[in-house]
């Protein structure tokens, strides 16, 4: 592995840890969801560097694409449920 690639990997790992911390400690839920998607995106780039393009494709499409939007769909439903629950009580 060349020096440039090693440095890039280190930066990506740091970005991944930072995004994961943001996802855990972030106050706003949408920001946390986006940060979790970012973790997957960086992970897919790391898989590519580690010469696993098949895994990288799955991670990018499912981890950072579909899962993120699944979380948003669910978040919308939970909020709608909270609102109608407040009306009933």
């Amino acid at each position: 592995m060349s020096i440039l690639l090693t440095a890039m990997t280190a930066v990506l790992c740091l970005a991944m840890i930072g995004a994961a911390l943001l996802a855990i400690s972030g106050k706003a839920l949408p920001v946390a969801i986006l940060a979790a998607g970012l973790v997957s995106l960086v992970a897919s780039v790391l898989f590519l560097i580690l010469a696993a393009p098949d895994v990288a494709m799955t991670e990018a499409a499912i981890g950072s694409g579909l899962t993120t939007f699944l979380f948003f769909f669910v978040l919308g439903r939970v909020r709608a449920g909270e609102r109608s629950g407040d009306d009933n009580d």
């Binding site: 098949d54 494709m57 499912i62 694409g65 579909l66 699944l70 769909f73 919308g76």
Partner: protein, 232 residues
């Protein structure tokens, strides 16, 4: 306080274990026995240029069938739960229209994304990717269509038909392998052809196309279900 201390001790213990593992790690210079067999025999026996695909579809084909089954069950349960929780009032929903950029971009990009998905699963035996990746890419195209127009109605009958036929033909090809070739899901029921050509590697392109259609249909139906039952 005690709880935090226990958590901290646990973290330190796990950290120690992983540090020891990392310190003792040495990359293998040689492939292990199973990996060497796959690396030596995938191209000559199976005829697939992408060894990962040869392993997933042929050597470990039964596992793939299991994974597809798990995904099918997950999609079914999502549909079931959403249908049960649905309220019966069917008031026409009025939504803020999606922006110009998203609408126009979707018109341009959605067909290309779907085409890329089909390319990925049809070329699974040659290039990285395959049925699962292609199916997920197709589903992300569906997602884009849903984002541009949340009221868009997808034909569930069509999705169900594609999904069922892909599943039935997948198992049927597997059973044909029992009769015509060496065993269940053996890809050599068709000629393996020339290494690297599109029509090569026996039944792998066929199986992976079916898996791709099945996964794409399942994930798309999940997204369409979620979007259709959303209360806004």
């Amino acid at each position: 306080m005690i709880k935090r201390l226990v958590a901290l001790l646990l973290l330190v213990a796990i950290g120690t274990i992983f540090t020891a593992l990392l310190a003792g790690y040495e990359a293998d210079a040689l492939l292990n026995l199973t990996a060497r067999y796959y690396a030596d025999h995938a191209a000559s026996d199976i005829g697939a240029a992408n060894i990962v695909t040869a392993i997933i579809v042929t050597y470990r084909g039964l596992d793939t069938l299991g994974e597809v089954t798990v995904l099918f069950l997950a999609a079914t349960v999502v549909g079931l739960v959403l249908a049960l929780g649905q309220r019966h009032e069917k008031a026409p929903r009025s939504l803020v229209p999606a922006g110009e950029l998203l609408t126009t971009g979707t018109r341009f990009l959605a067909p290309l994304i779907m085409l890329l998905g089909a390319y990925v699963f049809a070329n699974g035996h040659l290039t990285p990717g395959g049925g699962f990746q292609g199916g997920a890419i197709i589903a992300s195209g569906t997602l884009l269509l849903l984002l541009a127009d949340p009221l868009k109605h997808f034909s569930h009958a069509l999705i169900a038909t594609i999904e069922s036929f892909a599943g039935i033909f997948y198992v049927a090809i597997g059973l044909l392998g029992l009769v015509l070739a060496g065993g269940f899901l053996d890809n050599r029921i068709l000629p393996t052809g020339e290494l690297g050509a599109l029509f090569s590697a026996g039944a792998i392109p066929l199986i992976y196309s079916l898996v791709g259609l099945k996964v794409g249909a399942e994930l798309s139906s999940m997204l369409a279900n979620l979007s259709a039952t959303e209360e806004l």
